[in-house]
């Protein structure tokens, strides 16, 4: 089996983001960027499946500006075999990304496509489902466990009510939850080796996909601030405040 893994470059999950004064977005200059966290889980799972002898090749793909390539390089350092960077500047909506990935799937013919269940920047939670719709493939979203069985996967999904298990035939899309696995760190020798692994660069314009935005972002603003709270000295005071001041118990 061949596994294609899509990765996205986002503001690092530890960074407290700042909204731009002019309301056009959030500040990204001089801000630490990383791979979208559940995309790391997607890469890890693909590499584990390959290590278990159930996959022959892991290809990492990203869609985005020049620097997005760092995420592919990182995927190569933890075990992906080669990379693809679809170059495109500007805001990309999940629909556009899924159309680009569809073209890459047509070209690469993977058996599985993995990616994170949600990007932590726009919090859209759409790309995997959209790609599976465009391909008419099965989708296993929010996966916290994957068992490979011949040409099927048994996937445990995290849903609001608990857990759901489904069986999907390949080719298929899986979107990964943070609980799927523990992503490994890249060792220094592997980072060096990754520099020699090939990354194919493709211009999005060569794929014949219309990526123009359908949504207008009219304004980005800070959410309303909470009023500063107080520290209480002990539990008795806390309970008294909840009862008599906040009147919630």
């Amino acid at each position: 089996m061949k596994i294609l893994v899509a990765v996205k470059r986002v503001i690092d999950y530890n960074v407290q983001i700042r909204v731009k004064d002019d309301g056009t977005g959030v500040v990204t200059d001089n801000v630490k960027m990383s791979t979208n966290p559940p995309d790391d889980n997607a890469i890890e799972e693909a590499v584990k499946i390959k290590e278990a002898g159930n996959a022959t090749e892991v290809v990492a793909v990203t869609v985005g500006e020049e620097k997005a390539q760092e995420t592919v390089r990182k995927a190569l350092a933890v075990g992906a075999d080669r990379g693809i960077h679809v170059k495109v500047d500007g805001i990309l909506e999940p629909l556009a990304v899924s159309k680009i990935l569809q073209k890459i799937v047509d070209k690469e013919k993977p058996d599985l496509v993995f990616m994170g269940k949600q990007a932590i920047d726009d919090d859209c939670n759409q790309t995997g489902q959209m790609l599976s719709a465009l391909l008419n493939w099965p989708q296993a979203t929010f996966a916290s466990k994957i068992d490979v069985k011949d040409n099927k996967l048994e996937v445990t999904r995290e849903i609001d009510e608990g857990l759901e298990t489904i069986e999907i035939n390949v080719p298929a899309i899986v979107t990964c939850d943070l609980r799927l696995n523990e992503p490994r760190y890249a060792s220094l020798p592997n980072i060096m080796k990754a520099k020699k692994k090939p990354i194919e660069e493709i211009a999005a314009s060569d794929l014949g996909v219309d990526v123009s935005p359908r949504l207008e972002q009219l304004k980005v603003e800070e959410p309303p601030k909470r009023k500063a709270g107080i520290k209480v000295a002990n539990v008795a005071e806390l309970v008294q405040k909840l009862k008599n001041e906040a009147k919630v118990i």
């Binding site: 949504l215 909470r226 118990i249």
Partner: protein, 317 residues
């Protein structure tokens, strides 16, 4: 054109967030139709017809709809979509799984997880774990919108009598097979709709220690939440997780115990009306959103909290 609401249900009855989604749908356009797809779901369809905001119910029945598989649901809704300007459902795991599949088929850029309807084409939605709000205008002819259920009040559930129209089922998608669902049954209120939530984090140190939280939750009639760290550590099951990738809750009272307050956790609870933080680290970020902060060892504070509650003559339920 009317708005099409996708009902979430368990084949017997509507799931509560359908009522919140119905409110959001009715704010987009007063002409709301609702589609219910299931197996032996006539009772839930009847319930749907009784929501006063719903003007018409479309009912689709089939054995392959029993487990709400998106691959089976999407073609039904795509077919119906030609008569509607908007498709709406909740941004919970049901809607998150389903709506993008519909949107891609309709070649529409979905607007996810809205918290306010500004106009029929313009919506407010949180981005970056709720650390920014974006105002988004959709220029697509058909709009696919998922709504954050806790940002909209549930609609009235009785008094309506919308006609129920039966619609033909679509073909089964054979490459996805449902195996099983493990639901954790509990007599406590649902996390998403509870008036009070008591949550534990990594500071709880073990699953056993969660009984300190359970005890207080029972006393207060509260739901139990958890940080991702607590779920990852195996202290408690995933359906309790509050945060950016878990559930978003807005109870009247949220008590965070042994939770440091990572951005990702705050995303799921910082809209709560009153927030209490109990943590022994006075510098923990959770205190920045807390109305009442108690810097204390939770293993001393929780038993005392229980004692103090026992002293009260009355407790609101």
């Amino acid at each position: 054109m009317a708005v099409l609401l996708i009902a979430e249900h368990n084949n017997k009855e509507l799931r509560p967030f359908t009522l919140n989604a119905a409110t959001a749908a009715s704010q987009i356009d007063s002409d709301v139709h609702a589609v219910i797809i299931g197996q032996n779901s006539a009772d839930a369809a009847k319930q749907l017809s009784e929501l006063p905001v719903v003007k018409k119910v479309l009912s689709v029945e089939g054995a392959h709809y029993e487990n709400f598989t998106a691959e089976n649901f999407a073609p039904v809704i795509v077919k119906l979509a030609e008569n509607y300007s908007h498709i709406v459902c909740s941004a919970n795991t049901f809607g998150k799984n389903l709506m993008p599949r519909i949107a891609a088929h309709l070649d529409t850029s979905q607007v996810s997880d809205i918290i306010n309807v500004i106009s029929p084409d313009t919506f407010l939605r949180p981005i970056y774990a709720g650390n920014a709000f974006a105002t988004i205008k959709s220029n697509d002819a058909k709009k696919c919108v998922t709504i954050r259920p806790t940002s909209f009040d549930p609609c009235e559930s009785t008094g309506g009598s919308a006609p129920i129209e039966k619609i033909d089922a679509s073909e089964e998608f054979s490459n996805t097979k449902f195996i099983k669902r493990e639901e954790i049954k509990s007599d406590r209120p649902e996390l998403g709709t509870a008036r009070i939530v008591v949550s534990g984090g990594r500071g709880m140190q073990s699953g056993d220690n969660f009984k300190l939280i359970t005890e207080i939750a029972d006393k207060l009639g509260a739901a139990i939440g958890a940080s991702r760290a607590a779920v990852d550590a195996g202290y408690i099951s995933n359906d309790h997780q509050v945060g950016q990738t878990g559930k978003v809750v807005v109870p009247d009272l949220y008590i965070a115990v042994g939770i440091s307050g990572a951005i990702q956790h705050l995303a799921g609870m910082k809209e709560s009306k009153v927030i209490v933080a109990i943590n022994k680290d006075g510098e923990a970020p959770i205190f920045s959103v807390a109305d009442y902060g108690l810097e204390a060892d939770l293993f001393e504070a929780l038993p005392q909290f229980m004692e103090e509650l026992n002293k009260l003559n009355t407790i609101q339920k």
